[in-house]
Amino acid sequence: MAVDAFSDEWAIRFKDEVNKSSVYKAAAKGWKWTVGLVIEAEPDKNVPESLGVVMDLFDGEARDIHVGPASEAQGCQFVITAPYSRWKQVATKELDATKGMLQGKLKLKGDLPTIVRYTKASQELTECTTRVPVQWPDEK
C-alpha cells in the first residue's frame, strides 16, 4: 500500500528497506556519519514547507530514519539539498543521484572524498527509496 511521501510511515518503510538490503550492508561497511536530506518547499506542488529526512546510518545499518524540520537535517554531517521535484525525480529513477550531484542539481555539503568512496552505498539508498510505494503530494 502506498504511503505519503516523506511522512513518518514512509520513513519507517524506507528504514526497513535499507536494513533488508544486503547490497547496502556490504557497500556501507565503515560508514559512520549522519546524513540529512533537505527537501525544499514547492508550494505549487503541494509542499508548502521545507522538510528534512534525518538518517542515522552506521556500518551498513540504518539505526534511525525520521522526518523532521529542514533545520534538523541541515545539522547532519552530510547534507544533500534539492527542491521537492528533484527528489521526486531521484525516487522515480528519472534522475540518477550521482549524475544529479555532478550536475549540481543535488547540492552536497560534507566531505566529498568520503561520499565518493561510498558511491555504491548511496546508489543503493536511492534504490531503497524506489521500493517504497508512495503517494506524491503533487499527485493528490
Binding site: D96, T98, K99, M101, L102, Q103, G104, L108, D111, L112, P113, T114, V116, R117, T119
Partner: protein, 123 residues
C-alpha cells in the same frame, strides 16, 4: 564537484600535495551520459576549473558518470600505480576495453594520467 573533490583530497591527504604541486597539465573530463564536461587546469600547485572542454588539453577522459566515480575509487598500489586487479580496477579496465571509457592523449602522457589518478583517488 570534481574541483571540490580534488581540493578536499589535497587538503586532507598530505601525500597528494606533492603530486598536486608537480602537476602542470590540462585535463578534460567529459561525462557522456549528461553531456557535460569540465577542464581541470593544473598549474603546479593551483587548479583552475573551467566549465566545458577548453582547447589544448593534454588528456581528455570520456566516460559515464558512474565510471568517473569509479576512477576516483581506484586504489593506488606499488610505485604509485593505480590498482587494476581488484573489483573497482577490473571494472575500470573493462570499461576501457569496451570503449566506454576513452582517454584521448594517453600516448606520451601516461605519467600525467597516473598523477591525476593519484590526486583523484579517494580509496
Amino acid at each position: 564537484m570534481l574541483g571540490g573533490l580534488i581540493e578536499a583530497n589535497v587538503e586532507s591527504r598530505p601525500e597528494k600535495q606533492k603530486d598536486f604541486e608537480s602537476l602542470a597539465a590540462k585535463v578534460g573530463i567529459f561525462v557522456t551520459d549528461i553531456d557535460e564536461g569540465v577542464t581541470l587546469d593544473f598549474r603546479s600547485g593551483s587548479l583552475v576549473v573551467h566549465n566545458g572542454l577548453e582547447p589544448k588539453r593534454d588528456i581528455t577522459i570520456r566516460a559515464e558518470a558512474g565510471t568517473v566515480m569509479s576512477l576516483s575509487n581506484l586504489k593506488i598500489g606499488l610505485f604509485g600505480m593505480p590498482v587494476y586487479y581488484d573489483e573497482v580496477g577490473r571494472g575500470v579496465a573493462l570499461k576501457l576495453l569496451q570503449g566506454k571509457l576513452r582517454i584521448d592523449g594517453l600516448l606520451g602522457n601516461f605519467a600525467t594520467l597516473n598523477t591525476v589518478t593519484r590526486i583523484f583517488s579517494v580509496a
